[in-house]
């Protein structure tokens, strides 16, 4: 039984960043801008967020870290830095896609290539990181072993309130907020209209440029946060890569049909797949089969392909996503 809880706990580590980044992608594509730069923005946000955390952890002596609150504050401040960096970086994509009417896939690819180059370049130029590209941090300080009261609840307690990071709750909070914004606010309605028929939105008085800028910036914010959470919760150092997560998030977005709740389901599915892939050696049932580890690593991607093959036929993305917005077009 502990194996089962272990799988679910691990699954959350993988699913939450996927969820957040995919929600970010949703905001961008719903406004009409295809954002394949999620991978690069994740990396960019993760780099600056973790750099900040590393900085804090080195400057403040460990005694000040004894309280759980201060550890979580460090985590949160890194998260804010990551989000802001991601949002700023995504502005390049917004500018190219909205003002310069560039091909959104090309601009996204440029950002994807730019992010690791800049992260490695800066890391290697700084004495603080010993002139290497790895940025280490002490992530174990952030792990919450057990939430005082809630962790005792029989079933849910073991999954959601033990061996968890505060970022899991942040992820669900973001999900809830995103749902409300997109479906229950005026801004959300305008956002969606820009992605379906920007000319009609323009005729109704909505500033398509401004809305799309918002859409892309929110996606940058969330992608930065997601990248940061991904590295912090699954690794001990930042090594200039997010292992294709940004692209997995795109697949989650498509699988989730651009709807928040579906995206959650898709993210959980993929998180589960990824967990099987990395934690298979800890699961006794699977060990017996002696499947090579490379096959496990392939599984999330194979599963994605399969899922896409089945669901994409009737895929209904935002109608105007990826199209250059020309004000006078019919």
């Amino acid at each position: 039984m502990t194996d089962f809880y272990f799988i679910l706990q691990q699954m959350l580590y993988f699913s939450v960043p996927l969820l957040i980044v995919a929600l970010g992608g949703m905001f961008s594509e719903r406004s009409g801008v295809v954002n394949i730069a999620l991978e690069g923005i994740m990396l960019f946000g993760a780099f600056f967020g973790i750099l900040f955390v590393d900085f804090l952890q080195s400057k403040i002596s460990l005694e000040a870290f004894n309280s759980i609150t201060s550890q979580q504050l460090v985590l949160l401040s890194g998260l804010i830095v990551a989000g802001i960096s991601g949002a700023l970086f995504s502005l390049f994509h917004a500018y190219a896609s909205v003002n310069m009417k560039a091909d959104q896939v090309i601009s996204g690819t440029a950002l994807n290539m730019f992010a690791p180059a800049v992260a490695i370049y800066l890391a290697r130029s700084m004495a603080f990181t010993n002139y290497t590209q790895q940025v280490g941090f002490t992530g174990t300080l952030f792990l919450i072993r057990k939430v005082p009261l809630l962790g005792d609840i029989p079933f849910i307690g073991d999954i959601l309130f033990k061996q968890v990071y505060i970022t899991t709750y942040i992820g669900f909070l973001i999900l809830a907020i995103s749902y409300v914004i997109v479906y229950k606010t005026r801004f959300g309605l305008r956002l969606r209209s820009c992605g379906e028929h920007p000319q009609a939105a323009d005729a109704a008085g909505i500033n398509v440029y401004k809305t799309r800028y918002f859409g892309v910036s929110i996606s940058g914010l969330l992608a930065g946060i997601g990248g940061y959470i991904f590295i912090v919760t699954t690794s001990t150092e930042f090594n200039a890569t997010v292992a294709g997560y940004g692209f997995l998030a795109l697949a989650v977005l498509i699988f989730g049909q651009w709807k928040p709740m579906r995206i959650l389901q898709a993210a959980l599915f993929f998180g589960f797949m990824k967990t099987i892939a990395s934690a298979h050696s800890g699961i006794t049932a699977l060990n017996i089969l002696k499947i090579p580890s490379e096959v496990y690593k392939m599984i999330p991607f194979l599963a994605t392909l399969l899922v896409l093959a089945i669901t994409s036929v009737n895929s209904q993305g935002p109608k105007a996503a990826g199209q250059v917005y020309e004000a006078g077009k019919r």
Binding site: M100, K101, A102, I106, S107, M113, F247, L250
Partner: protein
């Protein structure tokens, strides 16, 4: 007059503008991070490709050849409206097949490398088949499917290398047999070949003449080593050009790229075009894999979780070359040139990733210059209509 000139070569100028902008941006970053060394380092990036005479030129061609192939792969797919980000996986699959044949099929004799290369291309094509089919028949976005294939290919190749051609000490694939190495063009080879035609005495005097000639401009003619892969790449560039510009098939592919529905209405089987386009694109990247790894300079497939970089560099090469085969040829050479410059620049205390920064900014700016093209187009149209009104 000036406007006509600009119009005809507008694509070339747009690319040039993007390149200059990217380089300048890189220069600015270098100045910000290390003001004193920036200008000399930047100069080294620009001139490094010529520093060591023929050795540098040979190295530039060595870097350029595989990315010309991956550039063609990405560019060809672009023409059909497809974004082939899967070049990396296709290269890796092609590389494995090439190495496997190179190590195991010793019975092939002198044509060993040719067979290995051909199969590498076929393997790459096969790897692109699935994304092509998924796009054509199941509407799966090729960006996501090819990225998935990249990772699947990576892990598959890691598994296969470990099981078949593993060099355990170095954690990489084994070296290929001598006959499987793609030969290189050198002065020696040329003279050897010549002596079979015109006799060895005459050939040797030609040799002395050539060596002496190049010595005048301070070049050592023996340093010139050009892999046959480069000549193959030129051949392939010409073939792709002919396919795209001179055949009905190429015309159909381009039509599908411009407007899928209109081509379907005009009778083009757009599903078949998409699949065939991906097959060719995959084949080109597979060839790249063979070109890179059928070597005797010690480069083997490392069994690590890293996607092949040459596949991704094909994207800027295709963009800078504007998806035109000849443009891609020059773009590949340019990319090889500044990459070499980047290596030389390391003496000046800059991390070589600055080259990646420059390349990615060039891509970014090349996406922006589209608006520059539109601007020029609009200007010339306005002048034309004004001229008509004056009549």
């Amino acid at each position: 007059m000036m406007r006509n000139f600009l119009n005809r070569y507008i694509n070339f100028f747009s690319s040039l503008l993007a390149i200059i902008a990217g380089l300048l941006f890189g220069l600015i970053i270098m100045i910000i991070t290390n003001p004193q060394d920036a200008s000399s380092a930047f100069f080294t990036i620009l001139s490094g490709g010529f520093e060591d005479g023929f050795t540098s030129i040979s190295r530039t061609i060595l870097y350029a050849t595989p990315i010309i192939f991956t550039g063609l792969s990405v560019g060809f797919a672009f023409k059909t409206g497809l974004f082939n980000i899967g070049a990396s996986g296709q290269v890796m699959i092609g590389a494995f097949v090439a190495i496997y044949i190179g190590v195991k099929w010793s019975f092939l004799g002198p044509i060993h490398w040719v067979i290995a290369l051909i199969f590498a291309g076929l393997a790459g094509a096969l790897w692109a088949l699935l994304p092509g089919l998924l796009k054509a028949y199941r509407n799966v976005h090729e960006v996501v499917s090819t990225i998935m294939m990249n990772y699947i290919g990576l892990y598959l190749v890691m598994l296969l290398v470990k099981r078949t051609v593993f060099n355990q000490e170095k954690n990489e694939s084994m070296y290929v047999l001598k006959n499987a190495v793609i030969p290189s063009f050198t002065l020696e080879r040329l003279i050897n070949g010549l002596s079979k035609i015109v006799g060895s005495r005459f050939a040797q005097s030609i040799e002395k003449f050539i060596v002496g000639l190049f010595k005048l401009i301070n070049l050592d003619a023996y340093d010139l080593i050009i892999n046959y892969g480069f000549f193959i790449s030129i051949l392939v560039v010409i073939i792709i050009y002919i396919i795209l510009q001179k055949t009905t098939f190429g015309y159909e592919l381009k039509a599908v790229g411009f407007n899928k529905d209109a081509s379907k209405y005009a009778g083009v089987n757009e599903k078949r075009s998409i699949v065939l386009s991906m097959l060719i694109a995959g084949g080109l990247s597979g060839l790249a894999g063979g070109i890179i790894y059928l070597n005797d300079i010690g480069r083997s497939i490392e069994v690590v979780d890293v996607l092949n970089p040459e596949g991704f560099i094909g994207i800027p090469v295709a963009l800078i070359g504007l998806s035109h085969p000849i443009g891609i040829l020059f773009a590949g050479i340019f990319m090889g040139y500044i990459t070499l410059g980047g290596f030389y620049m390391q003496i000046h205390d800059f991390a070589p990733e600055i080259i990646d920064i420059i390349i990615s900014s060039i891509i970014y700016f090349s996406a922006l210059v589209i608006i520059f093209k539109e601007f020029i187009n609009r200007m010339s149209k306005r002048r034309m209509s004004r001229g008509e009104r004056n009549d």
